[in-house]
Structures are given as structure tokens and as C-alpha cells.
């Protein structure tokens, strides 16, 4: 068992454990904190699969931005026992159904996957930052540049809306 494999198992155990903790905690703040750990563990997996960019984006966007937003909302809402909404039987069934569908899709995907084509750890370079940069600055250079107009207009708009009159 090489070093990468040991890391893989550790990351997997952390990910699964904290994912279970996410759905079993009573306090939603703990859930979110465990969710952050899950995302970090999954980012570690991405690094193992040579997808550095995905790993970084996963940490910045999910762990950094979205979950912090989650925490803010949870703390601002000030959840407690009294304000807890009544649990609806129908909602329970609906969520179970939706979750079951997702499970079905995932199982089907695994079932139909060609295992022999799956690359091992540290193989393939499609997820490397340099590959992404090459695509971004050759094939997709025009949309990349034009996105700057979009951001510029959004920034001007934010200033116009946000400034005090």
C-alpha cells in the first residue's frame, strides 16, 4: 500500500464519517461545519485524481463562499425549538422519494460505467491548471475576454445601485 493509497483511505473515511455527521446532528450549525470538512476531504480526492483546479475551486466556492453564507443565514435566523416548523408527513415522503431517485441515478451510472476505462490515481492531465489555462487562452479566449464586459457592467451596476444618492 503506497502513500497515495493510504491518503485515499484516510480521506474517504473522513468524508463518509463527516457526511454522516452532517445528517445526524441536531444543531444545524454543527451540520454545516461537518459539511465543510466533507468538502475539504473531497477536495483532497480531487487532488489525488490530478484535478487541481477543481480542488481549489471546490474549496474556494463551496467551503469558502457558500457554506459561510449558510452559516450566516443560520445564525441570523436564530433557530430554536419554538420556531421549528411542523414536520410534514408529505414532505418526508417527498424528500425520501427525491433522495431515492438520486440514489437510483447514481447506482445506474456506476452500473453502466466501463470500469476498465477508469484511470488510476495520478493519471491523466485533463484537470491540471495548465491544461485548463491552455483551453481558456486558445480555444475559448474570445468568450473569456468577453466575460470581462459582463463583469464590468455588473460592477458598474453594483456601484450605481449601491451608492447613496
Amino acid at each position: 500500500m503506497g502513500a497515495t493509497q493510504i491518503i485515499f483511505w484516510i480521506l474517504s473515511i473522513v468524508a463518509v464519517f463527516s457526511a454522516i455527521m452532517v445528517i445526524t446532528r441536531k444543531n444545524p450549525v454543527y451540520s454545516v461545519l461537518y459539511l465543510i470538512i466533507t468538502f475539504f476531504a473531497i477536495s483532497g480526492h480531487y487532488v489525488l485524481m490530478n484535478a487541481q483546479f477543481l480542488a481549489i475551486v471546490n474549496i474556494i466556492v463551496y467551503a469558502g463562499a457558500i457554506l459561510v453564507l449558510f452559516l450566516f443565514v443560520l445564525m441570523l435566523m436564530n433557530l430554536n425549538k419554538e420556531s421549528e416548523p411542523k414536520k410534514n408527513k408529505f414532505m418526508l415522503w417527498a424528500s425520501a422519494f427525491a433522495g431515492g431517485l438520486l440514489l437510483y441515478v447514481l447506482l445506474a451510472a456506476v452500473h453502466t460505467a466501463h470500469i476498465e476505462n477508469v484511470k488510476g490515481i495520478h493519471v491523466g492531465n485533463i484537470g491540471l491548471v495548465s491544461e485548463l489555462g491552455k483551453a481558456l487562452f486558445t480555444t475559448y479566449v474570445v468568450p473569456f475576454e468577453i466575460t470581462s464586459i459582463l463583469f464590468l457592467s455588473a460592477m458598474v451596476g453594483a456601484v450605481v445601485i449601491g451608492k447613496k444618492d
Binding site: T138, T139, Y140, V141, V142, P143, I146, T147, I149, L150, L152, S153, A154, V156, G157, V159, V160, I161, K163, D165
Partner: protein, 467 residues
């Protein structure tokens, strides 16, 4: 390419001029100079190469003669808009330079929509077209109605963009490419049509129908157009709408071959019929001219959609004439409306006695919108309906409906003429909030003359299509 690059740069220039120039009038002059330069630049591109040679852009943006001509029309309409409504833009709020900058960015988005060759660019173009509009809609920060309209537009726009992205993803999944020509080529051999592709096309159809405010996706239009500052309503209802219609045509033309069958025409004919009926019948009951024009813009979009129904050269010629005459007429009416105290029909009472020049020009605009012969609006409607008839003559009911709806529209458009010429002014309040300059009626009459010129001799415009 000229349109996209120069308008984006003009937007940046306007941003900086807001920093260094404190006088609002000067800012308007700078914007007018830039837009005149921009329209000259787009004209130079007609029948010639772009000033900017970007080989990488070939796969993403492919400008046809048609797209270039529409670009010229959009910039000319914007020029008239800046000249006629510059003073009203200055009165909206404090960030005049930023409003101009945002409008230049919208033009850049329109330029992308006129020439996109890749679904990625479609998405970017639609976003660049709409995000500045959310802000312009909410530009009157003290006005609750403006805030509400902005928020409503933002939520609905974000939702429709989400639907568009979903459609693009499904098409990518089915076809394996974002490139329109690749998708078109693959779709030709894929019979029966791939399920995911079909679903994606339907989602794209819904989101594009939302962007051009075709019924039943029109519910945001009256509220947003009514709540937005009147000057910006004018911009949204004309230039933006024409660009969106052209993008609609470009998206489905050629590249979506399997859809060109009778099934496509059934869908679009239902869309057109709903749009015409909803737009015209609801406009009849409006008391506010602004709201009436919002509904009339829905019905005018219905006529423009005939080009999407037909996909032939006739339809393209029609959009060219329709786009210019509709934009100019609506910009003219809005430029008067945004100066007025009372924006109901009663506000127009007795206008002809005090301002005969303005009343005359308004009459021409209204006649053009209603589609009375000798005006550009008539020829536009004529071309659109005959394009539909040329592509599939079995849809007689649709063409009759379109003509009947044009007849209905005469009623609500002519109420403006009736108010101006045949009603006495009761109150003593002045017609306009601010005194109009001497040049304003002359400019309006120039615009009116242009509309009549297109109506008499459309070839001065159409000849450029065959350069």
C-alpha cells in the same frame, strides 16, 4: 466585431468621463459623439472587413451581412435615442455617465447576439444584454415602483437564464458541441430527433420567448416597462427587443434543422397568435400611454416573430425594415412621453395647438406603429406577413389574425391622435415638465421623415443586404 469592441470601449470611456466631467450636459455630448462614431464604425464594416482582425474569434463570432446591417440599425436608433432623450437621461438620477456606460455595454451584448456562432456566446450575449437593464430599470432609487420593477425583472430574468442554460446543457449532451454549425450538421442526420436535443430546444425556445416577451412568457413586461424610468423603457422596448429577436432567429435558423418541419411552425404560430392577441387586446384597456406602449411592444414583437416562423430571406428583409421603423417610432413617442407631466391619454389633450411640430411627428410615429401605408411600419408588417405566407401558405388563420390585430391596434394608437387634435386642454398645467428646446420638434420631424422615407423606398436600406 467593430460594434462589440468599440461599444465596450465606449462604455469604459463613459465610466471614466463620469469621474472627470462634472457637468451632465457635457457627459451627454460625449456619449452622443461616441455613439455617432460607433454607428460610423458599424457602417464602415458593411461590405468590408472589420477593423479588428481576430482569427480566434472565427469559431465564436461570425458576422453575416445581415448581422452587420442590424448592427447599423441598432446604432442609428441609439444615436437618435441619445439625441432625443439625452436631457431625460440626465434627469433620472445622479450617475448619468454610468447610465450611458451601461447602455454602451448593452450595445456590446447586442453585437454579440447578432453574430454568435457558439451557444456559449449566446449565453454571454444575453447576460450582457440583460444585466445592465436590471440596473437601468432600478435607476430611480427613490421610486418604489422602479425598485419593484428592477427586482421583478432580475428574478424573472435570472430564472429564464437558468432555463436557457439548462437547454444549452441538454443540447450539448445530445450533440456534443456548443457550435451552432456542428449541431446543425449532426441534427440533419439524427432522425428521429434526439430526446435530449428536443427538450433542450424547447427550453431554449421558452427562454428566448421570454427575452422578446412573447406571450405566454410576457408577464414581466408590462410591470417592468411601467416601473422603469420612461427613458429607459424606450431603450428596452426598442433596441434591446430588436437585438433579442435577431438572436432568436439566428439561434434557430439553419442550426436547428430537424425543427424546421411543420412541428416548429405549429409551435411558433401558437406563440405568435398568443402574443398578438394578448398584446393588442390588453393594450385597448390601458389608460396610461406608457403601459399601452408596453403592451403594444408585446404585440409588435408578435409581428417580428413571423421571421422566426418563416426563416426565409423575406423575413430577414422584414426584420430590417420593421426593426428600424418600430425602433424609431417608439423612441420618438417615448422621448415626448418622458418629458410630459401626465402620461395618461389625457395628458396629450390639445397638444397640437401648443406644439404643432411635435404633434405632427407624433402622428407619423403612431401611424407607423399602427401600420398605415406610406410609413415604414406598414412595409414592415407587410413583409413579415408575406414572409409567413411565402414559407407556408396553409396558415391562413394566422395571417388573418395578424391583420385583424393590426386593425385593433389602430384603435388604441389613434387615441393619441384624437387626444392631440380633437380634445381641448382643460387644466392649466403645462404639458411638459421641463421646457422643450427649439431643436426638439425639428429633430422629431427628421425622425418622422426617415420613417416615411423607409416606407416609400425601402430599397435604400435593403440594398445593403445584398452587398
Amino acid at each position: 466585431m467593430n460594434l462589440i469592441i468599440i461599444s465596450a470601449l465606449s462604455g469604459v470611456v463613459m465610466m471614466f468621463s463620469g469621474l472627470f466631467v462634472k457637468n451632465n450636459r457635457t457627459i451627454s455630448y460625449i456619449a452622443t459623439a461616441l455613439i455617432i462614431f460607433l454607428s460610423l464604425a458599424t457602417m464602415c464594416e458593411l461590405g468590408a472587413k472589420s477593423w479588428f482582425n481576430i482569427p480566434q474569434a472565427e469559431a465564436m463570432l461570425r458576422t453575416s451581412v445581415y448581422g452587420k446591417l442590424i448592427g447599423v440599425i441598432l446604432t442609428i436608433a441609439t444615436t437618435f435615442y441619445f439625441v432625443l432623450s439625452g436631457k431625460d437621461i440626465e434627469r433620472v438620477g445622479k450617475h448619468v455617465a454610468d447610465y450611458y456606460a451601461l447602455m454602451f455595454f448593452v450595445l456590446a451584448g447586442a453585437g454579440i447576439l447578432l453574430s454568435f456562432q457558439n451557444l456559449l456566446m449566446l449565453f454571454l450575449g444575453v447576460e450582457i444584454l440583460t444585466i445592465p437593464l436590471f440596473i437601468l430599470t432600478g435607476a430611480q432609487k427613490q421610486n418604489l415602483k422602479s425598485n419593484e420593477a428592477s427586482l421583478k425583472y432580475f428574478l424573472m430574468g435570472a430564472f429564464s437564464t437558468g432555463i436557457m442554460l439548462m437547454g444549452i446543457v441538454l443540447i450539448y449532451g445530445a450533440m456534443g458541441s456548443f457550435d451552432l454549425s456542428v449541431i446543425g450538421k449532426k441534427a440533419q442526420f439524427a432522425t428521429p430527433i434526439h430526446g435530449a436535443n428536443l427538450m433542450g430546444l424547447l427550453l431554449l425556445l421558452a427562454s428566448m420567448a421570454f427575452k422578446v416577451s412573447a406571450a405566454p412568457f410576457h408577464f414581466w413586461t408590462p410591470d417592468v416597462y411601467d416601473g422603469a424610468p420612461t427613458v429607459f423603457t424606450s431603450f428596452m422596448a426598442t433596441i434591446v427587443k430588436v437585438a433579442a429577436v435577431v438572436a432568436f432567429i439566428r439561434l434557430f435558423e439553419g442550426s436547428m434543422e430537424p425543427f424546421h418541419t411543420s412541428k416548429w411552425q405549429i409551435l411558433v404560430s401558437i406563440l405568435i397568435a398568443c402574443t398578438l392577441l394578448v398584446g393588442n387586446i390588453t393594450a385597448v384597456f390601458q389608460q396610461s400611454v406608457k403601459r399601452m406602449l408596453a403592451y403594444s411592444s408585446i404585440s409588435q414583437a408578435g409581428y417580428m416573430l413571423f421571421a422566426v416562423f418563416a426563416f426565409n430571406a423575406f423575413g430577414k428583409e422584414g426584420i430590417t425594415i420593421y426593426g428600424l421603423s418600430y425602433s424609431l417610432a417608439t423612441i420618438g413617442i417615448f422621448s415626448v412621453l418622458s418629458k410630459m407631466q401626465d402620461i395618461t391619454f389625457d395628458g396629450f389633450n390639445g397638444l397640437a395647438r401648443q406644439y404643432p411640430g411635435i404633434a405632427f411627428a407624433l402622428t407619423v410615429f403612431v401611424l407607423s406603429l399602427a401600420g398605415i401605408p406610406l410609413t415604414g411600419g406598414f412595409l414592415g408588417k407587410f413583409y413579415m406577413i408575406s414572409a409567413g405566407a411565402a414559407s407556408n401558405s396553409s396558415y391562413t388563420w394566422l395571417f388573418i389574425l395578424a391583420i385583424l390585430c393590426a386593425a385593433v391596434s389602430v384603435y388604441y394608437y389613434f387615441r393619441i391622435i384624437q387626444a392631440m387634435y380633437f380634445k381641448e386642454r382643460v387644466s392649466d398645467t403645462p404639458v411638459f415638465e421641463v421646457p422643450v428646446s427649439k431643436a426638439f420638434p425639428i429633430l422629431l420631424i427628421v425622425v418622422a421623415a426617415l420613417i416615411i422615407l423607409i416606407g416609400i423606398n425601402p430599397q435604400i436600406l435593403l440594398q445593403y443586404l445584398y452587398f
